[in-house]
Symmetry: C2
Subunit: 407 residues, 2 copies
Amino acid sequence: MADFKTKYFTMKEEDAIAYSKSILNFFDPNAKLTCKEIGDGNLNYVFRLVDEANNKSLILKQAGPIARISDEFKLSPDRNRIESEILALQGKLAPGLVPKMYHYDPIMNCFAMDDLSDHQIMRAALIEHKKFPLFADHISTFLVNTLLLTSDVVMDHKEKKELVGDFINPELCEISEDLVYTEPFYDCPRNDVFEGSREFVKEHIWKDEKLQLETAKLKFEFMTNAQSLIHGDLHTGSVFIKEDSTKVIDPEFAFYGPAGYDVGNVIANLIFAYVNGKFTISDNAARDDFTTYIENTIKDIVDLFKEKFIKAWDENATERVAKYEGYREYYLDNLLRDTAAVTGLELCRRIIGLAHVKDITSIQDKDARTKAEKIALTIGKTCILQRQTMKTGNDYVSLVKDTQQRF
Amino acid sequence: MADFKTKYFTMKEEDAIAYSKSILNFFDPNAKLTCKEIGDGNLNYVFRLVDEANNKSLILKQAGPIARISDEFKLSPDRNRIESEILALQGKLAPGLVPKMYHYDPIMNCFAMDDLSDHQIMRAALIEHKKFPLFADHISTFLVNTLLLTSDVVMDHKEKKELVGDFINPELCEISEDLVYTEPFYDCPRNDVFEGSREFVKEHIWKDEKLQLETAKLKFEFMTNAQSLIHGDLHTGSVFIKEDSTKVIDPEFAFYGPAGYDVGNVIANLIFAYVNGKFTISDNAARDDFTTYIENTIKDIVDLFKEKFIKAWDENATERVAKYEGYREYYLDNLLRDTAAVTGLELCRRIIGLAHVKDITSIQDKDARTKAEKIALTIGKTCILQRQTMKTGNDYVSLVKDTQQRF
């Protein structure tokens, strides 16, 4: 049997079974287990272990030694510690909204967690134009609880600084710094621009020095503003969902950064779902139904976020100066400004940069995809440049609808 | 002989001699050493070891187990590691402007460094109204090199993040958060307000809700903005000086924070020296000579800082987006805004808060001291509220001169 206690190696399916039998105290010792590697991400191996006779299952997630996204990104498996620690913390801050974490193993760089196979990855579900009426409520709670409750507004400042140290995450942050904040905004060889959009990108993004200056300001804020313990990659591919349940997964990009980063990522990826609906649903009523659902969800997320944030602030703030007249409004205002900026960055980088989203790439018609990309880029650029003005759910919905009508 | 290799204990003078003989390879093995504890700070024991026959001497600095400032602040001796590591780093970034560091001992929580007994603590020298024409040049170099070269503008971002982790400094930061940003701005029992100034403080500081709101914004920036590896306590009591040499000492408050914090502390403490000169030098010509020297020094520090900062940026910036048109100006502008804010905070907190400066407390005449305090508080409040407008050396000199004439 493989030795799991001495030295890291990347597991195969049979190793995952042996591991769960010898290390995890989860399945019956005599259970007949099957295992399948189901990872579709770029960085990790994800094993689904099933004991069919007893109807039990578990996920074992192991960090690969090198990111599979590209050999250029070499990632230390320490991200697995970060992911398991933050899952445990988020599970306390936002109960029920992340998978349960069972076991972390610093030698094999793996951890075990709930099997969520009855859930679906939200991006895939949205591309099938499914609707999840509880999502806005769930995700706004997740965002408020994980972001506000890890900030200096609420936490003891010394404990918060220790957390900052625990979650320093140089390699994963570098990926975001490059792929989100830098490469999309100039003609970088690693970009991957759809042929139909190339001229538009050249003209409206790469030539815009004012836009570039704003991305520089935002990149430095991303690198220096240790505001909240953020998820760091909260797109719809990091959400497992079913009608009555939302689980945020894959927090391996977590670090102390600007709180608006997570909120903006959620909004941007809903805008991709909206654009996908616009261009792929042929039936008028069905299209309107889906896009209206997305509009309402975006609106609700922003407005519920604000409402819950203010309530949680009033209930939980411990920092004396945070209670000074006007500070809460100033803080939330800045958070919403950052939210708009990141919404814009995510919309641009998923069109121009290395990592695309299926909401857009699955649009088969070339002209439709070009239009969809121009809409996303135009909304994105506006969100970056006019981030001071994006303060309500309606601000987003109006921008999306107005922009969509121009193409 | 005491055992230095197993367990920390606070040394007496005879232990320091034994330590240097058994651990440090600095003095001749047969040298006759004398030792005197010369610490006048609150947190540490400072032993001066002298071999008179051979004209050699050394400083051994040991962190005490509990801050001597007050039993309320309990400080882990880890600050000694922070101090020795940053002295080594600053010695590389700003050669000749910090004492040479010889040896760090993580068990005894002490380190050895150059004996600077031929230098004088700058605050004491300024109270004697001595002038140091090279100080503006030296300190502006120190500030630019230590602040810019440790930022994301210049450093590899992954290495910078590791440094952020190494210099997380919860206990010392808490002291600054409390004593600089919080307590002076309300009627906190730990404040120590001179009787003559009490009404003025009540009326113009504690009742000013707009000022309080600004201190809240600044406190959160201090806690979250990991911009540069700052000294964290760069007042004139942290500078050893003689005519041709400036050495910045006592960096135990170091952490990644807003770069303007160090610059502002230097300026504020020169303003205290200016006010001291105004009220304690009776001879008109001598008074004008000294205060004009301080005015010119403040002016030169701000203007040389800007000039050297721009030059160092152009020579050393590695971050691509930092080179975008307009970003350098935006960055420097924010740094100068933070500088003004901290100038103001330091001026207020040294008058109102727990820790005073001798420049003010040594003014014997009660009315003169009251006037001096009102001037410092008025300049301080203006620097905080109008921090956006303080951009040149002349802005500071004009504010100081104008305010001084009003009292």
